[in-house]
């Protein structure tokens, strides 16, 4: 009585079970049924294929496919979640960039007197003779006479010439000699400017010291440019001979330059600035250079929260020939970047408040296979002469400097020194200026290969600047402010400050929006595989497993069948030969005609078992046929066993 309900339940379960397989519900049966009926190819093949090795292979394949799915899907999921998360991590506090400030005038003119007095005197004289320009009237007369008697060093090195374009003759402005121009003429200005009146072109000539016939004449449409360029060449010669420590002393100190400093609502002073010596701009001061390991950041956008400095620009101490504008130059850059003040600096005006609003953009390019950029610059064959992080500008400058040292034997003044080289000056390298100009010409025409070697950096930061200027100080506040600032400046400066000696600068984030532009590969491996799988599935409802199946059936299996047949043929042929050599077997060509199904004798013969049943005749029978007996059952049987081994085997099974 106790067993009856249990049995009932079992029966009921068996009836209502979701098992759709064969009735015998053992586990192995169920699995077998599942594998035969599912549309995932792998399982089916496990069951269907015969042979232990092949089955094992299919199990392995199926398992690895499952593993691959799990891996790839996990990757996709991780990608999905990480992408959504990475945007949220945005602390609304932006690191403040480094701000480098330079006076436009590199060195104090008064301090430079002992180095430059000769050159300045020459320049003044040149101006007098060219333009009749005079400063102190009586003094000039005398100095002109003096000049004519003494031979000038500077003009011997690089003579200033007045060029008549059409006659191709030039007048040496110093000695008054006329000379024929040899070699090539380079116009530093566009030809449109000076096409009208070419009678008054001023330029200078640079000759190869070893081969004086090889000269190049550089002309300028305006005398201002010519004289400035000429002055700069000599100036670089002189500066190249002065050691760095001396130059730093000759330039402005932090106390000289900075009057007040205010950052993010807090007072700051010269300890927040790092000195940095720029060959063309003298001492520059970098705010927030990150040298002591901390990088300042601002809490909110707006001019109150940025850097506010008042700069002292001593206009009276400017070099009259080297610089013609007054003010300061600033550049906003990353802490790891080298400030290329001469290339991309922003100039600010005196007696004005310049407010510079910044907008921060960070970009990232994908490196090697996607675009031709470099991550660290380590893969570029140009040595980085600046010990700052790689940029295209650094690479170009370093490349040029290297070429300069290589072909001229000395280094150009405006760029840092490579190891073992020294700056050019015409005491040691009398030829360098000609060489430099030639090299520069080549560099600009991209013949040095620098532009081809140097690549863009993959990631860079950029601060877009918006500049606006207001009058400062306002007329009513001028009075008290100048007084206070003069006091701040200290007693050593006895005179009251003039407002044209001051510049007010504000650098701030306009807003704390950071724009981040990054390239993403359009096809990652996962997406590529997905697309591939999608196409396969869509058009063929096929998978990799199915492809393997195709390979198995169409190549391995069919090949093995063909091979087996060939093997059997070969075996038969061998056997034939063996029998033929013993002399028993008839000729192979007679085989067809010797049996009872020989069309010649079929009519006379009694109906055999085969013909009566209309069974298909064994063709290509590999066995030699004996002449027909009256009943050939025995031979037929052997023929069948030979012919259809598969069916027999199946039947046994």
């Amino acid at each position: 009585a106790a067993t009856a309900p249990g049995k009932k339940i079992t029966a009921r379960l068996k009836r209502t079970l979701p098992v759709r397989g064969p009735q015998a519900p053992t586990l192995s049966e169920l699995m077998r049924w599942y594998c035969l009926n599912t549309n995932t190819h792998g399982c089916r093949r496990i069951v269907v294929s015969r042979g232990r090795l092949r089955r094992l292979l299919w199990i392995l394949l199926t398992l690895s496919a499952v593993g691959l799915i799990l891996w790839q899907c996990a990757e996709l999921l991780m990608n999905y979640y990480s992408a959504s998360v990475s945007v949220t991590v945005q602390f609304q506090k932006l690191p403040f960039p480094a701000v480098t400030i330079c006076n436009i005038n590199p060195y104090k003119y008064s301090a430079m007197k002992e180095y430059l007095s000769e050159l300045d005197k020459e320049t003044k004289k040149a101006l007098e003779t060219f333009y009749g320009f005079s400063e102190g009237k009586s003094k000039v007369r005398r100095s002109v006479d003096e000049w004519n008697s003494t031979e000038s060093d500077f003009f011997q090195q690089i003579p200033l010439l007045k060029v008549e374009d059409f006659s191709r003759t030039a007048t040496d402005l110093h000695s008054g000699q006329k000379r024929k121009i040899e070699g090539s003429v380079f116009h530093k200005d566009s030809s449109i400017v000076n096409s009208g009146d070419s009678n008054d072109i001023i330029g200078f000539q640079l000759c190869d010291a070893n081969n004086s016939s090889d000269c190049a004449l550089y002309t300028f449409s305006s005398g201002v440019n010519a004289i400035q360029e000429w002055y700069k060449l000599h100036y670089m010669n002189i500066m190249a001979q002065i050691p760095l420590e001396t130059k730093e002393k000759l330039s402005y100190s932090a106390d000289d330059l900075l009057l007040t400093c205010f950052f993010d609502g807090l007072s700051c002073d010269k300890r927040h600035f790092t000195r940095f010596h720029h060959p063309l701009h003298g001492n520059c001061y970098t705010f927030n250079s990150g040298e002591n390991g901390t990088i300042l950041s601002t809490s909110t956008g707006g001019s109150e929260y940025g850097l506010q400095v008042v700069l002292y620009i001593d206009e009276a101490d400017y070099n009259p020939f080297l610089v013609t504008s007054t003010g300061a130059k600033i550049i906003v850059h990353d802490q790891n970047e080298y400030p290329f003040i001469e290339d991309i600096g922003t100039e600010i005006e005196t007696a004005a408040a310049t407010s510079i609003g910044m907008h921060f953009t960070r970009s990232r390019k994908l490196s090697k296979p996607y675009s031709d950029c470099t991550e660290t610059g380590a893969d570029i064959p140009v040595e980085n002469l600046y010990n700052k992080s790689y940029s295209l500008q650094i690479c170009l400058h370093s490349c040029f400097q290297k070429a300069m040292v290589h072909s001229c034997g000395c280094a150009q003044y405006a760029q840092p020194l490579p190891a073992g080289a020294e700056y050019c000056n015409y005491k040691k390298n009398p030829n360098w200026m000609y060489c430099y100009y030639r090299l520069h010409e080549k560099f600009v025409k991209e013949q040095l290969g620098c532009q081809q070697i140097c690549k863009d950096a993959c990631s860079f930061k950029e601060w877009a600047l918006t500049t606006s200027i207001a009058q400062w100080p306002s007329t009513v506040s001028e009075d008290w402010m100048l007084r206070v600032l003069s006091w701040d400046k200290g007693q050593k400066l006895n005179k009251k400050l003039n407002k044209t000696d001051l510049a007010n600068l504000m650098v701030f984030y306009k807003d704390l929006n950071e724009r981040f532009i990054s390239e993403n590969p359009a096809n990652t491996l996962v997406i590529l595989l997905s697309n591939f799988g999608g196409q396969l599935g869509l058009w063929m409802s096929c998978s990799v497993v199915c492809v393997i199946e195709i390979v198995e059936v169409f190549f391995i299996d069919s090949l093995s069948i063909v091979m087996r047949r060939q093997w059997q043929k070969a075996k038969k042929w061998w056997n034939d030969r063996k029998q033929g050599s013993s002399g028993k077997a008839p000729q192979a060509s007679d085989v067809e005609r010797q049996g009872h199904d020989n069309p010649v004798c079929i009519d006379e013969d009694l109906p055999t078992f085969t013909t009566a049943l209309r069974l298909p005749l064994p063709q290509d029978s590999p066995l030699p046929r004996t002449p027909p007996p009256n009943y050939s059952t025995l031979r037929l049987e052997t023929a069948f066993t030979e012919q259809l081994p598969d069916t027999l085997e199946l039947g046994q099974h």
């Binding site: 379960l13 079970l17 979701p18 053992t26 586990l27 169920l30 599912t38 549309n39 995932t40 190819h41 499952v66 691959l68 899907c73 996709l76 999905y80 992408a83 959504s84 998360v85 945007v87 949220t88 609304q92 506090k93 009057l259 007040t260 400093c261 205010f262 993010d264 609502g265 007072s267 809490s299 909110t300 707006g302 109150e304 408040a353 407010s355 606006s468 200027i469 207001a470 100080p473 306002s474 007329t475 009513v476 009075d479 008290w480 402010m481 206070v484 600032l485 006091w487 007010n504 807003d511 595989l529 997905s530 799988g533 999608g534 396969l536 599935g537 409802s541 998978s543 990799v544 497993v545």
Partner: protein, 464 residues
């Protein structure tokens, strides 16, 4: 900003005090030393017209010079002392430069004085009309209409005017890009009325912003220099953020905890200011003068709250160092318009033309400047291009794409679909049920074996 008549007496007092401080600090050539002003409160005389407020200028907060002992005699700093209500926990707000110190000190007093101004007073009544500030206005070659601007009072800059603040008028739609089709203004930038210690720059502030957005001129204003014609080209950028899981942002500010004190559309800056003002009212008991007031609060005044300066500067420090959670509470707006600005300048009016320009202005606008060239400015604001750049955030992998990629992976490696996955599940269930059944039967079988062990042995015996 101009001077209000109501508080002008106080301002004069303050100026005098500032002058005293300056001469004390700089006129006398003293070495660095610490000094205390006597704690006396001077009743400002001649304030009969303001007797109801009873305001007095406190001299508790005087400028001091102190030497920084660590860095030697060269570094002396100037500052003023702030204490809490009990007189303890004092700290010095110091600046390395006297100029900054004086400016901050003056601003502090100025805020106290200005808090006297009753908010209810219709300020525009006391202020200049637009004609005093804008001499000429043209848009798209046509003169502006008097209804085109909105006047508002800015705590820092005084009276400001917003053109086209609603953005609904068809008159202001931009039809063509280029300078002739932009907004052209001739502005007065007179410096006579400036308060010398409040702001040291001269000029006009211009800000280009969205409709219905509070302009924070002190943060994002563009300076216009007097005596100069400035041409400002603008280009619109739009940023759309995804929000949700992709980054916190708010569509209209409704879901932000901070109650906006500005009745304009939501901006991050407005939210930060409101947040700070709420905390300020909560902790210091009064509102910061430069931000608008929440309901029921009043502006700080050291006659009523003697310690507010102490409280304020400490609170402000905490905001800056992100110790207040204002930055967490205020998300960025999901949709933002930015105007990229680039400007060029030229001298204006030119030496040749300035005579007739002045004549014309004098005739028409009652402009009465004599020879000082630097008190008028010209601004032209125009669209460089009429198209705008939109920066849209888009998810790298959307749900759709995720599913399709996963499906593709399945089909690639396994040739199956969701249905085969369901099939597998079915198999699992089947296996489970079958194995349970099997176990059950095994158990049953064991039981029956134990119950009747004798029967088989009997049958065996029979067979034998």
């Amino acid at each position: 900003p101009g001077r209000f008549e109501l508080v002008s007496e106080h301002l004069v007092q303050l100026d005098r005090m500032a002058e005293e401080s300056i001469t004390f600090l700089y006129g006398i050539n003293t070495s660095a030393r610490l000094f205390h002003m006597n704690d006396r409160n001077i009743h400002v005389q001649g304030l009969s017209n303001l007797s109801r407020s009873g305001f007095k200028l406190s001299q508790n907060f005087s400028l001091l010079r102190m030497s920084d002992l660590r860095s030697g005699k060269k570094h002396s700093s100037v500052g003023f002392r702030l204490c809490n209500s009990t007189g303890g926990n004092c700290f010095y707000k110091t600046y390395s430069s006297g100029m900054d110190a004086i400016l901050e000190w003056y601003r502090f007093h100025y805020m106290n004085i200005m808090s006297q101004l009753p908010v209810i007073i219709n300020i525009s009544q006391h202020e200049e009309q637009i004609e005093d500030m804008v001499y000429s206005c043209q848009y798209d070659g046509e003169p502006c209409r008097p209804s085109d601007y909105v006047h508002f009072h800015h705590p820092v800059f005084g009276s400001c005017y917003t053109f086209n603040s609603k953005g609904t008028d068809p008159f202001w739609t931009a039809t063509k890009p280029g300078i002739p089709y932009g907004l052209s203004l001739i502005l007065r930038a007179e410096q006579k009325d400036h308060i010398p210690l409040l702001s040291t720059v001269a000029g006009v502030k211009v800000m280009i912003h969205n409709h219905n957005q509070t302009p924070f001129l002190e943060h994002e204003g563009f300076d216009i220099r007097p005596g100069i014609a400035t041409t400002i080209g603008i280009q619109q950028d739009e940023v759309n953020r995804l929000g949700g899981n992709y980054g916190k942002c708010t569509t209209n500010g409704d879901d932000v905890d901070v109650k906006l004190l500005y009745n304009n559309s939501y901006t991050l800056q407005a939210c930060l200011h409101s947040c700070f003002q709420h905390i300020m009212v909560q902790e210091c008991g009064c509102g910061y003068y430069y931000y608008p007031l929440p309901a029921g609060a009043q502006y700080c005044d050291y006659n009523k709250q003697p310690a507010w300066g102490h409280c304020f500067y400490q609170l402000y420090n905490r905001l800056r160092n992100h110790h207040l959670n204002c930055f967490d509470q205020c998300p960025k707006p999901c949709r933002e318009s930015l105007y990229k600005v680039s400007a060029g300048t030229a001298k204006w009016p030119s030496a040749k033309s300035q005579d007739w320009v002045r004549q014309a202005l004098r005739h028409q606008n009652g402009y009465n400047s004599t020879s000082n060239r630097k008190d008028i400015a010209k601004v032209t604001i125009f669209y460089q291009q009429l198209n705008y750049q939109a920066v849209n955030e888009s998810p790298l992998l959307s749900e759709n794409l995720l599913l399709s990629s996963m499906g593709s992976q399945w089909s690639l490696w396994f040739g199956s679909s969701v249905l085969s996955v369901v099939e597998m599940f079915e198999l699992l269930v089947d296996t489970l049920v079958l194995s349970l059944l099997f176990c059950y039967q095994r158990l049953r079988a064991k039981k029956t074996l134990r119950v009747s062990p004798t029967i088989p042995s009997v049958s065996l015996a029979l067979e034998n």
